[in-house]
Subunit: 413 residues, 2 copies
Amino acid sequence: MSNLILQCKRLKDAAKLLGIADTKKKNKALYYVAKQLRASRDIIIAENEKDVRNAREAGMKESLIDRLRLDENRIEDMIEGIETIIDLRDPIWNSNRVWTLENGLTISKMTVPMGVIGIIYESRPNVTIDAFALALKSGNCILLRGSSTSIHSNRALVNAVKEGLKASRLPEDVIGFIDDVDRSVVMEMLTLNEYIDLIIPRGGNELIQFVIKNATVPTIETGVGNCHVYIDESANLEKAIKIAENAKMQRPGVCNACETILVNEKVARDFLPLLYQSFDGKVEMRGCEKTRKVIPVNRAGEEDWFEEYLDYTVAIKVVEDIKEAIEHIDKYGTKHSEAIVTEQLEHANLFLRQVDAAAVYVNASTRFTDGGQFGFGAEMGISTQKIHARGPIGLEELVTVKYTIVGNGQIRE
Amino acid sequence: MSNLILQCKRLKDAAKLLGIADTKKKNKALYYVAKQLRASRDIIIAENEKDVRNAREAGMKESLIDRLRLDENRIEDMIEGIETIIDLRDPIWNSNRVWTLENGLTISKMTVPMGVIGIIYESRPNVTIDAFALALKSGNCILLRGSSTSIHSNRALVNAVKEGLKASRLPEDVIGFIDDVDRSVVMEMLTLNEYIDLIIPRGGNELIQFVIKNATVPTIETGVGNCHVYIDESANLEKAIKIAENAKMQRPGVCNACETILVNEKVARDFLPLLYQSFDGKVEMRGCEKTRKVIPVNRAGEEDWFEEYLDYTVAIKVVEDIKEAIEHIDKYGTKHSEAIVTEQLEHANLFLRQVDAAAVYVNASTRFTDGGQFGFGAEMGISTQKIHARGPIGLEELVTVKYTIVGNGQIRE
């Protein structure tokens, strides 16, 4: 029996206890973990420095090193996330559907934990704490598989969690950490249907596709965001500039950042020069022919409409009307986050109804698609698939259901 | 471009119209389809007879031929299913979660259709109509892949549906039927992530495992039911016999039938002789050593606890207490349907909380785990996995969500 299976068995046993633990017990455990994280801050930062040093020596890009780095503020953010999760309603053993059949059977659709959730993630060590805290509050054990680049940080974080759990009345085995950088362990994990109820890959597209292709354990696809902001003919251009700028520039390396701006041709002459002024020098702009008649930008080709730049680059297309904007999004979008800037109610409603994406915005930046921003305390990732969860994965997305049926001797005729 | 992809493109286009169709339009289409099914009854039965004849010539078991057969009553049942679905609440564009952030953004978690749902099913031709009707009401196009044994029946049913749709204002392409018995088409279907949002396999374990292993499209596992009835020390033995008999014998070939009866040792001497009397001659009983001390039955081995007989065979085990019963179910069960017969509230609640299964019963037969019985009109299958749906898959399980976020120029700081 492999080490991984042995570890999974311990998690599965712990899941039985955790699954029936009451809210108070779970919140207490989270409280002790938060406390321990604060107490272990210096060790965590010192261990994280090792990862940062190794990454730099291996030639990692500075933007990625930034994602890897932990400092006092970022540790405080994790702790705040835990505190929010403590305050959120326990998602377990709730029901929004109870009904009675003609034969007298009462059926309740109750929320229950999944059991053991696996997460395979890259780089950002805060995921270790976010995933643990969301899993614990929702009554699930978590099996963590971080990347080798953040191995020291993750170890230190997991140690702090285990230390914190000691003060609680929950078993340490509610958290499992795969401390083995060999990729074959991931492959094994993906087919342990007997022990793992759900696997969430969180990271680059390559990782996600690898998981989806090889997993027999159910998975939730996260990830790719080719997001659009559409400036409608009735847009307030001041809002439009603010939103376009924020969606593109506030943090271009993340999945909810904007990649293409669609501009209604009736406002193109007014809007594009303002956009040019706002972006100039900071963002590489690539436009369609109509765009290039108004502002002097590089040419955008068909491939640009598909591109998730994750960088200071943006594609711009002038469209005839809202219909063409929706069709463009439908063809090139990845169903992540899409925004319209408009003052016209009918167009707002049309966009909300017809655009098929996890998050659809009216007059707001796409950057809000985020568990923290939504008030979930943290997120396991952002689902871009349609089954089970879509958008930020928080507590309510980490449950399954159980029908409880209470009778008085009923049999089927 | 393959025929299947061409077909999927048409379904995907139809899904855009269907996804925003109002309830009245969808119900009307269902009404016309029901009407057409009644009008096409004789053709459907004649075509079904061809399948039955072929199956018999190929040496199919009578119990399976029974599942394949369509008669007036069974067609009437399908029509009744459609009528129930017409009466059910439209599951689309509802929300049970709307909240406003401090920054003034209002977030609504809305239910929306998935798009295109594929179903791969064996034998029973009523699935053709059940799947179509549930999909349509939930705003989804359906891609059907039935088995070669029911090809004539399925063709006739799909023709009736298409004929009925002509009278409605929905496109015929809301239903797609793969009229190709080659298995390679299934393989192609399983990886068409661009066109199909969800695939549900419904049939034998081999089919289900094949789909799970090979699909990159998200799937919902349905199926295997090793279900238990536990007779508690406080059970009313009259109810216990009625429930055990119904759970085992009313239709032993289906997944929610009981396979093992667990008997508390305090009532074994009273209960087992009654059970023996009730089952004798009709069910092969295989018991543990303690059982065999009370009634003269065959010996049950370790392998029997794992067995899904789907037949007139039952395993019987005497257990020390409810704890042992729950542990047995946990070890050998397939998390489908589990029942306790008890008059003790504490034991009822313990069983409901601690048994991990799609449906957990107190004082009722496991045979109720069924979309029709639950009041769903029909079912796409019974999910035995934990993500997305668990138990009978009805309208509410065929939706995904979309967050709509309405603001007034909000950007992320």
